[in-house]
Subunit: 348 residues, 2 copies
């Protein structure tokens, strides 16, 4: 393993790999996003079929973008693990390999989420002590960010996985968001310790016994109220919750627009209020961050929305570079020790 | 069993039982709600300790309210099934018994949800063919109501339970909401049939093979978009989703209020828009319906929010009476046959 996970922060320029062929708007918007974000401080390895990618880069020289050739594309319909094993010349596999080989510190794709997860597990590989890497998303809490994980990498979970998610989320909150002692909550259907599914009740016991700053159950209605900084749940519930928030925000804007058309008075009110609501819209806009970390691996993996625009991709690159500079991967290793949940053996 | 579940609609006045001692605002608000809703068409059996309830009814005569004495109260902290078995003189047990004995057609309480579920199972009893009664909530879809179930009665579910939820929801949509062919969706984390947890994938197969109008998976972001009229999921995910919607709506109003204070222009805009937004607030207000059915039992059971005001309780009574008049219980029996998922033997 050539990735040094013991360094706590990253000095000098960060190199990130970007899948030029992943997502609904690939390759045009992806390459445009790379052109927006690449700089002396952020080098981009752009993976894709040369005949597709090169024309988009144009004839001018891009000192901070390097093309890495791949030969095929894993689609949204391909079975993830099988595709990663068989399509070794695909952009996702080639991209993940650049991280495993230490050529870059992280890999970003708006392609098949399942294939990104499989490539993370099989190629970038897990950190020692982590059985299930998880997707971390940043929710717009009323008083600041709330981390939700797992947001969809693991549809079926055991209690010990939820404990690991607590470790991963705490590491993220501490290193990337600079929180001194992140409060960890368990997404559950009641406030009392004894409430919930079998999974939630077992996880509650394991979280309470760990060295994490566990504050107990958090109900759905309190998710955006910053009772906890990190909220853990299985990847099924987490993914439903995340997409429900997206849907709720979008339906709310639709309703506000309808309300603002219901009378002349409301029309004028809506026009006057519009600029202020723009700030609200951007607080709830998933493109502002541009991607979610798949955490628990020996390198950074960022999964972007399939519908990502150039702005989302550029933001994902900037976000990924920030996480690398702040030392997210060594942060997880440190958190495993702090929480007392590290497995004995260590790699690397 | 004295409840005749074969009659398809209910003629004449409806009698409903109300737990005067359940909820954060009991007994004052509960009794006030009964006084608001009781009428020649809606008789109320008011269950509670006479020394608590009688003074609130005052000295005047209430021809449509009858007091039914109980002697104890199951609190929010009591273990549900144990409390229902041991506290036989509690308002929840006495109230459920009035339904089992045919003295009333339904029972409403804002008390301990788990105890209401246990009383439903143990006293009102399940309909033949239903293993797991479920809580049905009505979500404010953009184009009309969307039924979500189970919203919290069953934290751990098997696939066949989700199939039953499809039957219960279809019956509700057909009889109470008057939908001719309710579309049933499975809450899941992807559109493809093969996506999701083990539970979701098995349930998908069973729903597809049933006589229900199953349209496939519905993702969290589409829950409010009326792709399906009935959305089924396990009670853990359903309860998280329901409370998340509540929290999301409340955080959205907080944010709109903040946006409307951010400048003089926005302030005026907010003032002008306010009356139009009031309609939006009421569309998202859980007190408008006042309660959620626990469906699949031999009588109607309605669970109201713990924080219910008199308005919520009055609305719950009106809503319950409407469901009884439209024949919700026989509607479930008919739906079991229509969907081809009835167990062989029949009771009553």
């Amino acid at each position: 393993m050539s990735v040094d996970v013991t360094r706590t922060t990253h000095q000098g320029p960060v190199t990130l790999t970007l899948d030029a062929e992943g997502g609904d708007n690939a390759p045009d918007e992806i390459v445009a996003g790379a052109l927006m974000a690449a700089s002396a401080e952020l080098h981009v390895l752009l993976v894709g079929r040369p005949e597709i990618v090169e024309p988009l880069l144009g004839s001018s020289d891009h000192p901070y973008i390097e093309s890495v050739p791949s030969a095929s594309v894993i689609s949204f319909h391909d079975e993830p693990a099988g595709a990663v094993k068989s399509m070794t010349d695909s952009s996702i596999v080639v991209g993940a390999r650049t991280v495993a080989e230490g050529r870059s510190q992280g890999f970003i794709s708006a392609g098949n989420t399942g294939a990104m997860t499989a490539a993370g597990l099989l190629i970038v590989k897990r950190l020692s002590g982590i059985r299930r890497p998880a997707i971390v998303t940043i929710l717009p809490g009323l008083e600041g960010p709330v981390l939700l994980l797992d947001s969809g990498a693991n549809a079926d979970c055991r209690p010990e996985h939820l404990l690991e998610f607590g470790v991963l989320g705490s590491a993220y909150a501490r290193t990337v968001l600079g929180m001194a002692s992140p409060r960890v909550g368990l997404l559950n259907i009641g406030e009392e310790d004894s409430k919930g599914s079998e999974l939630a009740r077992s996880a509650h016991g394991m979280l309470a016994a760990s060295g994490l700053n566990f504050i107990g159950n958090v109900e759905g209605r309190d998710l955006l109220r910053n009772l906890a900084d990190v909220v853990v749940t299985d990847g099924f519930t987490g993914n439903v919750a995340l997409k429900l928030l997206e849907g709720c925000a979008s339906s709310f804007f639709t309703r506000v627009r309808a309300a603002a058309k219901s009378s002349t008075r409301a029309k004028i009110g809506g026009m006057l209020l519009k600029p202020a609501l723009r700030g609200l819209r951007s607080a709830l806009d998933p493109e502002e961050v541009g991607g979610a970390c798949l955490l628990g691996l020996r390198g950074l993996v960022v999964i972007s929305h399939g519908s990502s625009s150039r702005r989302a991709i550029s933001n994902a690159l900037l976000f990924g570079a920030d996480a690398v500079r702040k030392g997210i991967v060594p942060g997880v290793v440190a958190e495993l020790e702090r929480a007392g949940v590290a497995s004995g053996e260590r790699e690397g």
